[in-house]
Structures are given as C-alpha cells and as structure tokens.
Symmetry: C2
Subunit: 136 residues, 2 copies
DNA sequence: TATTGTTATACTCTATAACTATA
DNA sequence: TATAGTTATAGAGTATAACAATA
C-alpha cells in the first residue's frame, strides 16, 4: 500500500472519529443519547411501526421496544395502535420530540462547518469523489 | 444552504454510518467489541498506563479499569506494576491480543476497498480535500 | 403457521462518587 | 494535598430466548 492510501486511511479514521464525537456531544447537549437522536430523526419524516424502526436502525426489535419506551416516558414520542394491523404499533414524534430534534440539529454544526471550509468548486469535487467511494 | 452542501452532508452521514457499521462487524467477527478493538489498537504501539488509555480513548478512568479487566481476563492484555511510579500500572498487549488485533485488521477491509475505487490522481485529490476539511 | 411486539435476562459501555495507595 | 487507579453503583444500548396477540 502506498503513502497516499495510508494517509487516506488515517484521514478517514480521524474524520469518522471526529464526526461521531461531535454527534454524541450534540445529542448529549440536547439531553439525549445518540441512539435516541437517531430514532427521533427517523420519526421526523413520519410515523413508523416498531418493525420499521428496527429495520431502519439495523437492530433487534427488542431494542426498539426499550428505546421507544424511554422516549415515550419522556413525552418525546407516542405509541398508538395501528388501525390496519392490530399486532402493530405506530410510533410518532410529539411536538416536544420535534423541539428536541431541532435542538440537536442546531447544535450539530460539525458537517456544515467542515464543508464550509471548501470552495464551491472543491465541494463539487468532493461530492463526486464521495459518490464514487460510496456507490453501491 | 445549496444543493451541493446538502448532498455532501448526506454523503458524509452515509460514509460515517457505513464505516462505523463495518468496524463494529469486523470487531465482532474477531470476538471483540469496538471499544475493546480500539483499546488493543492503542496498545499495539507499546505499553500504556491506565491514565494514558483514558486520555487516548477520551473516557473516564473507571471505564478503562473495566475494559482492561475484561481483556485481561481473556488473556489479551497484561497489567503490571509501573517500576517508576508505584501508583501506576503498565498495560501491555499479549501475543494473543496481537493475534486478535491482526484478525480485525484483516477483516476490516472497508477503508482500503473504498479508497481502492479511486485512481491515484483521485486519491491525491481526496487527500487534499480531507486535509482541508480536517485541519485543526 | 408466520409475524409483531413485549418481557425477562444478561452483557457491555459509560459515568459519578467514594475510596486506597502512593507521590 | 494531588494523582493513579479501583470499587460500587447506576443508566443506557444491545441481543437472545420465550412468549402473547394477531394475521
């Protein structure tokens, strides 16, 4: 492996590390954990079933039961019967939950700040490179 | 915020998400957690005190006590008295620990695979862009 | 019979507070 | 008095297995 590859691997590690740390901090400043913040973000697009959330967050259903339980206890989400399937539950974000989510968004300035260091041309360059790197 | 910035923010999120998932999976395939893998990586450069590890891993000392305890119980690290400061302990990776660490390295192909999708010129471009993005 | 979700349980990660031993 | 590390404890994330209700 060449010098450039090695340097890139280190840069990627550093980027991911800093990104994760910034997200954790932002969630924490809003009084949430990272997992809770992710769940609220899923719900901000519309209501989900427990199973949808498990799929989206790539974890076991029993974990969702616990996460949603904690958020429900704090009034950030609701859990209602699904009219179409009586086994299922529709989880929705509340007004208070939306406020929390916006609070995180406001504090999580890391990506915008870093991207803002690049010129418009550099941003387009990076976008193309990342598209290649992340293509399925 | 423009179209390019928005797209870049999403790409960054996706990249970090995929990277984290790949690292977790690699650690798990080697029978370790991500935190344990990071600790072994710290030690692979040489022995550390408990306090060094807490600083390096940005967490509380009591957490290191527990992490090291679990790894020591599995024979992956040792914890010896420090000859210079009798309060301190020197933590070192064992041969078995090195084998585990190498196993993770072998399985964690994500960064190399993704970087390998770019030409040498593209790699140099990305390296410069990331240097700008990650500059202190 | 298969699926949705919950409960019980257990392990890990993590932090705070109180503590011991040493500097 | 300050520092290095440990212990006790607690909350959160996560998974597995067993289960109830419904499809």
């Amino acid at each position: 492996m060449g010098e450039t590859e090695r340097a890139l691997e280190q840069q990627l590690w550093d980027l991911v590390y800093a990104y994760d740390a910034a997200f954790d901090r932002a969630a924490q400043e809003a009084g949430l954990t990272a997992a809770q913040a992710c769940l609220l973000t899923c719900l901000s697009q519309g209501s989900c079933t427990m199973g949808d959330l498990a799929t989206e967050l790539v974890c076991d259903a029993s974990n969702i039961t616990q996460l949603v339980g904690r958020l429900e206890a704090r009034g950030l989400v609701t859990r209602d019967p699904d009219p179409d399937d009586r086994r299922a539950r529709r989880v929705s974000i509340t007004a208070a939950g939306r406020r929390q989510r916006r609070a995180i968004e406001r504090v999580f300035t890391f990506p915008a700040e870093r991207i803002g260091r690049l010129s418009a041309a550099e941003q387009r360059q990076l976008r193309e490179l990342l598209a290649k790197v992340m293509a399925v």
